[in-house]
Amino acid sequence: MNDELHDAVAAGVLGAEKNYRELLQSIVEVARAIFHAKASSIFLLDEESDELVFEAVAGEGSESLIGRRFPSSNGIAGFVLVSRQPLVVEDVLEDPRFSRETAESTGFVPKGLMAVPLLHEERVLGVLEVLDRPSDARFTLAEMELLGLFANQAAIALDLLQRARRAQDTLADRGDLAVLARMAQKLEEGREEAGDAFAFLAALEKLL
């Protein structure tokens, strides 16, 4: 790829990642506000390391948590991820183990939390959590529906973020698709002598 094209694509991809991160951040901010909660966070599943990673956090414990990782089967977030079932836990009554595990995965010890899997098509991408709603408000099924709607939005944003990162890896010569970027670069450099190569690629495209 020539420098200009590379720069143009890179600018788009880099900008996209920033935008998608902002979108995730706005989703947790809105989730926190709507549920009058102390905090809200989105975890991304890193399939390679089998870990959950803090991707966006609003409220208590925010900034310092971004990028922190923990095993994908830990605690409530882990269960929600693996079982694909949303879960609301309230009124933690004297359970040190629960407190420790949730503290590890949230940055503080909540009295209660709502957790919902982020599903996109058949993939599970991560988990959305909302921590410490007001303790006097009884949880309703309408809130569960609302949480599900947020989860949909968050899942789409996470999917876009992952795509942007894969595109970035490709540009940076990493990942399975790097070969395509290199081919594009060679074709761009030798456009005039590349007639046969273009014909071959057109045939390959048809085959795929």
Partner: protein
């Protein structure tokens, strides 16, 4: 019952007597007839989940604890699993079944806890193992979205149905395709927000077939603790527990009949709640 094999594929007139039902159903099926006086005694219920804490006061005796894992191609079934419950969820489900059917026999098959990778395959193998053990009821407050497991899970759900194992599974309240709750050979359960554990509703617009108590349920949790939880995960063991009561009073019920009985005694059909 006769010792001659039952007609399986066809029914000649002279064989009609041989498929006579052991017990006639009354004209009006009531909850009293369905499970009045029943305790769940003699019914084997399996909790396919994150494990069950064995000495929890709300759970009581756990007959057996099994852990399923996969090493390469090999499925490992570890009997006498001592890991307990890795996140609390299985213990919560077990406690709910116990509260409704106090004398049923509870077993735990742990399919969660080894991380996300391979969790769909472990769930499938755990269910296969549980179906082979011919439990009367299997509580499955979990599902998978992986399309590649759908047909195998479907086969297993049907096998369970024909072997008189009732699979009770949590429905999804999100617009995604997940399994096995969508299959008609299982009982799928969503939540209502009432506090009566014996209130349950038949849904005339499936795939969710029944609604049971699933909001603000006080449940058993790890470390001998209790939590108040919400989710279809907790509605499901309510139906599993009621199914165990029905089976302990009417041992001969097939999954088809059990579903019919749940329908006839649902709060919005003929059941008083």
């Amino acid at each position: 019952m006769t010792e001659e094999p039952l007609p399986a594929w066809s029914l000649p007139t002279d064989a009609v007597e041989r498929i006579a039902l052991p017990e006639a159903w009354p004209g009006e099926v009531t909850r009293e007839w369905a499970w009045g006086g029943a305790t769940g005694a003699g019914v084997r219920v399996c909790i396919l989940d994150s494990g069950v804490e064995t000495d929890h006061p709300l759970v009581g005796r756990v007959q057996e604890s099994i852990a399923i894992s996969i090493d390469g191609e090999e499925v490992i079934v570890e009997e006498g699993d001592t890991a307990g419950d890795l996140c609390g969820h299985g213990t919560a489900c077990a406690g709910i079944v116990r509260s409704l059917a106090p004398e049923c026999e509870l077993s735990s098959v742990r399919v969660l806890g080894a991380g996300f990778t391979g969790s769909g395959a472990i769930l499938l193998e755990g269910l296969r193992w549980a179906v082979e053990q011919e439990y009367d009821v299997i509580n499955m407050s979990l599902s998978t979205t992986k399309q590649k497991f759908a047909s195998l899970l479907h086969e297993l759900a049907d096998t369970a149905y024909f072997r008189r194992t009732m699979l009770v599974a949590s429905a999804h309240n999100m617009p995604v395709e997940s399994y096995p709750w969508r299959f008609s050979s299982v009982i799928s359960v969503g939540s209502h927000d009432q506090s009566d554990p014996f209130a349950y509703y038949y849904n005339p617009a499936p795939p969710v077939e029944f609604f049971a108590r699933g909001v603000d349920v006080e449940v058993a949790w790890t470390g001998g603790g209790r939590l108040v939880c919400t989710g279809n995960s907790f509605a499901t063991p309510h139906i599993a527990g009621i199914a165990a009561l029905m089976l302990s009073k009417h041992r001969e019920l097939t999954p088809f009949q059990l579903k019919s009985l749940l329908y006839l005694t649902a709060s919005n059909v003929g059941g008083e709640s």
